[in-house]
């Protein structure tokens, strides 16, 4: 059944968390995502579903609360924005190394440093290339609508538990703040303690006399053991690259030129596609939904059919590296970016497509 509501992106994430049976949210306020915790505190899910909601003393504490909860098999999440996500990197690396499931939402704002509170996509490298220390990846979902903000909470938790890995939702201040219609499915009850123990037989939930004690750690001082762990992680990432790729193609079938863009930039490019088609120029949009795993193969295929690509990002050129790695150098691939919280307009990106790709 579910229901339709008009909500902000940040609120949709919070409501979706309650409805998927999330066990705990731990966070620290930062613009432009504070509505996530504010919504949860106002809804008081601890009185209804029993979900724990706690304002931590810092993002460092919040991510380590996630580590604790995840190590006991609980469904835990946090949200923050760029500077806070930087503080969480050690913890995310620990989650990856210990193979623990958790959901981390980054409502990106412009940087570097304190930067700005306006939307940005400048944390692509940090999200997609690991972020913290050591060889690891997190699965990264990039929503382009309030609906996807809600939907990707379930998708994210499912992937996190299936692969025992931290999952990121990489959004931005505009999608976090804007209001759209969103369909919310019926709530799923939180798992009982018995269900947690049976679904997460690896977790540290208290040692019954019938089994060995469980140890949640990423430490292995034996080089051979640590290499084994690393190989295991890499094997897991290969499976993820094989199975979890998500993307959307809009008007690509007959396209001569395409925009490649994720999240908010993709929304803008979608408008630009209409502008181009109105003028009889065959333009399409390729939108990666998972940024890791990156949709390499479908993009490579598309590269064989079109005459050029314009990668539009609200950063100085980050995803374009993955686009070029996927497509190669046979066709022109150029970048157009705005920074500091400036959102490009559809006219602007259409003009850039003409200048940089079609005209050139």
């Amino acid at each position: 059944m579910g229901e339709l509501r008009l909500m902000k992106g940040n609120e949709a994430i919070a409501e979706a968390a309650i409805r998927v049976g999330c066990d705990g949210y731990f966070g620290y306020p930062i613009t432009p995502q504070s509505e996530v915790m504010e919504y949860l505190m106002a809804e008081k899910p601890y009185e209804t579903t029993g979900m724990v909601v706690l304002q931590a003393e810092s993002e460092v504490a919040a991510i380590n609360m996630l580590y604790g909860g995840a190590g006991t098999g609980k469904m835990v999440m946090t949200s923050s924005s760029s500077p806070g996500i930087s503080l969480m990197q050690e913890g995310i690396s620990y989650l990856a190394g210990t193979q623990l499931p958790a959901l981390i939402v980054n409502i990106v704002r412009g940087g570097p440093g304190l930067g700005t509170i306006q939307p940005s996509q400048a944390d692509y490298f940090q999200a997609v290339k690991g972020g913290g220390h050591g060889d690891y990846y997190t699965i990264v979902y990039a929503p382009a609508s309030v609906q996807e903000m809600a939907d990707f909470v379930k998708l994210g938790f499912d992937a996190a538990f299936h692969y025992r890995t931290p999952v990121l939702i990489l959004s931005d201040g505009a999608i976090g703040q804007m209001m759209e219609k969103v369909y919310l499915p019926d709530p799923i009850p939180r798992r009982t303690e018995e269900e947690v123990i049976s679904q997460c037989p690896w977790a540290s939930t208290g040692k019954p006399p019938t089994r060995e004690h469980h140890i949640m750690t990423s430490l292995d001082l034996d080089p051979a053991g640590q290499e084994r762990l690393n190989l295991l992680l890499q094997e897991k990432y290969r499976v993820i690259e094989e199975k979890e790729v998500l993307y959307e193609k809009i008007d690509c079938d007959d396209a001569e030129y395409v925009f490649v863009a994720f999240g908010l930039s993709a929304r803008i490019c979608q408008k630009a596609v209409h502008l181009a088609r109105e003028q009889g120029i065959k333009v399409g949009l390729f939108r990666p939904i998972t940024l890791f795993p990156f949709p390499k193969k479908p993009l490579q295929e598309l590269g064989k059919k079109v005459k050029g690509m314009l990668v539009v990002e609200m950063n100085a050129g980050q995803m374009i590296e993955d686009v070029i790695l996927s497509v190669g150098f046979q066709i022109p691939i150029k970048h157009y970016g705005r920074f500091g919280g400036i959102i490009p307009t559809p006219d602007e990106v259409f003009r850039m497509l003409k200048e940089k790709i079609i005209g050139g």
Binding site: L54, M65, L219
Partner: protein
């Protein structure tokens, strides 16, 4: 299992006067001979056994010499990032209110890099137990200055002795957190004599029992030697500890039943 005793026939129930608790894993400890970590491990696990809570206990080890505590304590464990054990414990106790949760931390872990997590967990009145091993030095990384290093004491990062004018004063974090309304039982103990060991065991029991009351943190500091870091024999180290550490870090209860006693 390999029989380790010369006269297994003597090992009968009526002859058994003392045994290692099953909640310690049967393997050699990684600690230096004479180090206090091993004794505290044993006392803590005896309390878990006496209280009958082994299957519902979750422990958190720190980064420090006792990072490997999870290899020795035969309960479910998590290894925290340096200083963050109280954050893990906060989440675990709130997500599993019927579990007994403890953190086991050194002075660098608890009172330097993890100061914020320590103070805020104590201030929120979380219902877990903190076991704090104060040896005045960073053991694991090779004997650097800790927040608890005494004035004048030499370490590898204060080779001429801690100069409080430059490096600040030793921090008495236990007295500090005792001031917070969220702590219920706060004590400072040692494990250098049999009598002290017995007292520490009682203190650990009381601190774990706090979790039955749900009135806040039970906090046990154990002043311990780091004979390797101090570059002394174990006997010298314990003597030095009595002469120098105890005057700065006096033993005894600081807060009982939520009331300051010192």
């Amino acid at each position: 299992m390999e029989e380790k005793f010369a006269h297994p026939e003597l090992r009968t129930p009526e002859n058994l006067v003392y045994k290692r608790t099953d909640f310690l894993v049967d393997r050699p400890l990684s600690y230096c001979p004479g180090c206090g970590h091993g004794v505290v491990h044993r006392m803590l696990m005896e309390v878990v056994e006496d209280k009958g809570i082994g299957s519902i206990t979750i422990g958190i080890s720190p980064v420090g010499c006792s990072v490997l505590a999870y290899d020795f304590l035969n309960v479910d464990m998590l290894g925290a990032a340096h200083g963050r054990a109280p954050a893990l414990a906060t989440a675990i106790k709130r997500l599993w209110p019927n579990r007994y949760v403890f953190t086991y931390q050194g002075d660098g872990d608890l009172a330097a890099i993890g100061t914020a997590e320590t103070i805020h967990a104590c201030n929120r009145g979380e219902n877990f137990t903190i076991i704090f091993i104060n040896n005045g030095i960073y053991g694991m990384t090779g004997g650097q200055m800790a927040p608890t290093t005494l004035p004048g004491m030499r370490t590898s990062t204060c080779p001429y002795g801690r100069d409080v004018g430059i490096m600040g004063h030793p921090m008495k974090i236990t007295e500090l957190i005792a001031q917070l309304p969220g702590t219920y039982y706060v004590t400072r103990q040692a494990v250098h004599t049999p009598a002290a060991v017995r007292k520490t065991k009682k203190a650990l029991r009381k601190a774990i029992d706090c979790q039955d009351l749900g009135k806040g943190i039970g906090f046990v500091e154990v002043v311990s030697n780091c004979n390797s870091g101090w570059k002394m024999t174990p006997v010298q180290a314990n003597q030095w500890m009595e002469e120098h550490m105890f005057p700065k870090y006096p033993l005894g209860d600081i807060k009982v039943d939520g009331e300051l006693v010192k």
